[in-house]
């Protein structure tokens, strides 16, 4: 498509180059976008599913041989449409937006659930590159719900790195919830930093465990978003705008929003509702 100047906050139209099956319904969508190539692990883009919605999506890949990707779990009209797209269909992308994880050397623990695994994939790669010892807890309801497992296995391929699979029903890996796995891990090992993304209640439990041990956490939260540039306020978590100050909050910030974190959010009418 012929290049013409666009505003950085205007959707850029890109072709879906591949839609890879993650679970029965979830897909990882690959596309080519200059600006996404330069994103940092944890940043997100606004993905325009034309005719349906525009949604924030963490980048699951920034530069996989020149392609970027998002992993989408269908919930409503927008994400459903995205998951139904075929190669050659188009989407709009703007961003990348938001802050990014702070990669730390030492012994680090990544805890991802559902589509929350997405931003942890590029992060785990960076962490390995800078010499961290990476433990990755990858959780899903059942074995069929595990996302980006192939990518994770490729990256976390040999010791000292460690990939721990957790399912609610035990159909793959350890049976239980991700926080259970984290509790037992923290009992055995020294962890210098925790990174987490996934269902907010899961992250809250991980955070509370980490607080007991005074282990710093960076958690990537989700909120409805409209503008993604700090205008509409709908992404508020306490005094933070998740689109600009987040999506990643650190332990200090998480403490400051302790009342909201894992409990409630705004809906698209600005009403306070449970997360």
């Amino acid at each position: 498509m012929s290049g013409y100047p666009t505003h950085s906050d205007r959707p850029r139209i890109v072709k879906v180059e591949e839609s890879r099956i993650e679970t029965e319904t979830a897909r990882t969508i690959f596309f080519r976008d200059e600006a996404s190539l330069k994103a940092k692990p944890g940043q997100f883009v606004m993905v325009w599913a034309m005719g349906a919605d525009e949604m924030p999506m963490s980048l699951a890949a920034m530069n996989d041989k020149g392609r970027s990707a998002v992993t989408v779990k269908p919930w409503g009209p927008g994400s459903n449409l995205l998951c139904s797209l075929k190669s050659g269909d188009v989407i709009g992308v703007r961003g990348p937006y938001g802050n990014s994880f702070t990669p730390k050397k030492g012994s680090v623990l990544l805890v991802g659930g559902g589509s929350g695994v997405a931003p942890l994939i590029p992060l785990s790669q960076t962490l390995q590159e800078i010499g961290a010892k990476v433990t990755f807890v990858l959780a899903g309801k059942t074995s069929g719900d595990l996302m980006l497992l192939g990518e994770a296995k490729k990256i976390i391929s040999k010791p000292p790195h460690n990939l721990i699979i957790v399912t609610d029903d035990g159909s793959a890996g350890v049976k239980g919830l991700a926080p259970d796995a984290v509790r037992s891990l923290l009992g055995k090992e020294v962890v210098d930093q925790i990174y987490s993304c996934g269902p907010e209640k899961m992250m809250r439990m991980v955070f509370d465990l980490a607080e007991e041990k005074r282990i710093p956490v960076e958690a990537s939260l989700e909120r409805p978003m409209e503008c993604a540039i700090g205008l509409c306020g709908i992404c508020a978590v306490g005094k933070y705008l998740l689109c600009r100050d987040g999506p990643i909050l650190d332990s200090q910030q998480l403490k400051a929003v302790s009342k909201e974190f894992g409990s409630n959010r705004l809906d698209r009418a600005g009403r306070v509702v449970p997360v």
């Binding site: 906050d9 919605d53 009403r271």
Partner: protein, 312 residues
């Protein structure tokens, strides 16, 4: 104010009185921009805003339009959020958790006198310093500018609200009208305490690859630098035609933009889109710049420069 404020935030020179309210600085948060939670309103005040205007609140809860609701254009942004809001009851409850002394102005919209009458009983107990009537939203049918284009309707709504609440009432006007002056005069005659000029301009953008209007609502409001010359014109025209104070809004993101508005006749300025381009520091940046300007030009107070362009 919860933190020690830098010089600009505390300088008496920056303080303005508008419609009986004293603001420590002439820089306000514009309606609808992040002002949807008490935390975010508070953060704007902590960042140097002299007052904050809430998101526009209606009688009933209302969901925003489907995204895309915001899109960047060459010189600003289009938005068609759709007046999403939790409804006057829920929002008033939220506000009650805040310190009563804070300079918060509540923005209201409605489809006519009826809506406003029904909100009034709730507003009586809402701990805000004043109200701003959004009679100028360009992208929601039946409310906003469709009310605000009709001087009689403006007059009715303003008198009604003024009778109902014992606080200053500002009327926010739209540039999408034959004569913004006529509307402002109607508001003044009906008892409005001030005019906020302007809301966004009705606008649209189309994605040329897919041939689709980008906003889900197709039409939205243009804000940002693009509209500043229109806003400055409205402020000048209104402030030379009415006696009540005018608050300038539209494309203000730098101190020099704010000074231009003040010279045009604004008693204070509001910042919307500037928050996206500059972050929360936009307030202190503007305040400090105004203070520098006052010092360099030998003025004792920001009130001395309001409307100075009128003498040419």
């Amino acid at each position: 104010m919860t933190k020690a404020a830098p010089e600009a935030l505390t300088s008496r020179k920056l303080s303005v009185r508008i419609a009986g309210l004293t603001l420590h600085a002439p820089t306000m948060l514009a309606a609808g921009v992040v002002g949807i939670t008490t935390h975010l309103l508070h953060r704007a005040l902590d960042s140097g805003a002299g007052a904050v205007v809430t998101k526009s609140i209606g009688l009933q809860p209302r969901e925003s339009y489907r995204n895309p609701t915001v899109v960047g254009v060459e010189c600003g942004y289009l938005n068609a959020i759709g007046l999403g809001n939790p409804g006057v009851e829920a929002f008033s409850e939220q506000l009650k958790k805040l310190d009563r002394g804070l300079p918060i102005i509540m923005s209201l919209f409605g489809s006519g006198p009826d809506d406003f009458s029904r909100m009034i009983p709730i507003l009586k107990n809402t701990p805000v310093k004043g109200f701003e009537l959004n009679l100028s939203c360009p992208h929601v049918k039946g409310v906003g500018v469709e009310v605000g284009q009709d001087p009689e309707m403006v007059s009715k709504v303003v008198s009604l609200v003024k009778r109902g609440v014992k606080k200053p009432v500002f009327v926010k006007v739209s540039p999408n009208v034959d004569s913004v002056v006529e509307i402002a005069k109607a508001a003044e005659s009906a008892g409005a305490d001030g005019i906020t000029a302007i809301n966004t301009l009705r606008a649209m953008t189309i994605d040329i690859e897919t041939k689709r209007p980008v906003l889900s609502n197709k039409f939205g409001g243009l804000s940002g630098s693009a509209i500043r010359p229109v806003a400055v014109r409205c402020v000048y025209e209104i402030s030379t035609s009415v006696r009540i104070p005018v608050i300038g809004c539209g494309g203000v993101s730098k101190w020099s933009d704010a000074v231009e508005m003040l010279l045009a006749g604004a008693s204070a300025v509001q910042v919307g889109t500037g928050l996206a381009t500059q972050g929360y520091s936009v307030f202190s940046g503007i305040n400090e710049g105004i203070l520098r300007y006052l010092d360099e030009h030998g003025f004792e107070s920001v009130e001395q420069i309001v409307g100075l362009s009128h003498s040419f």
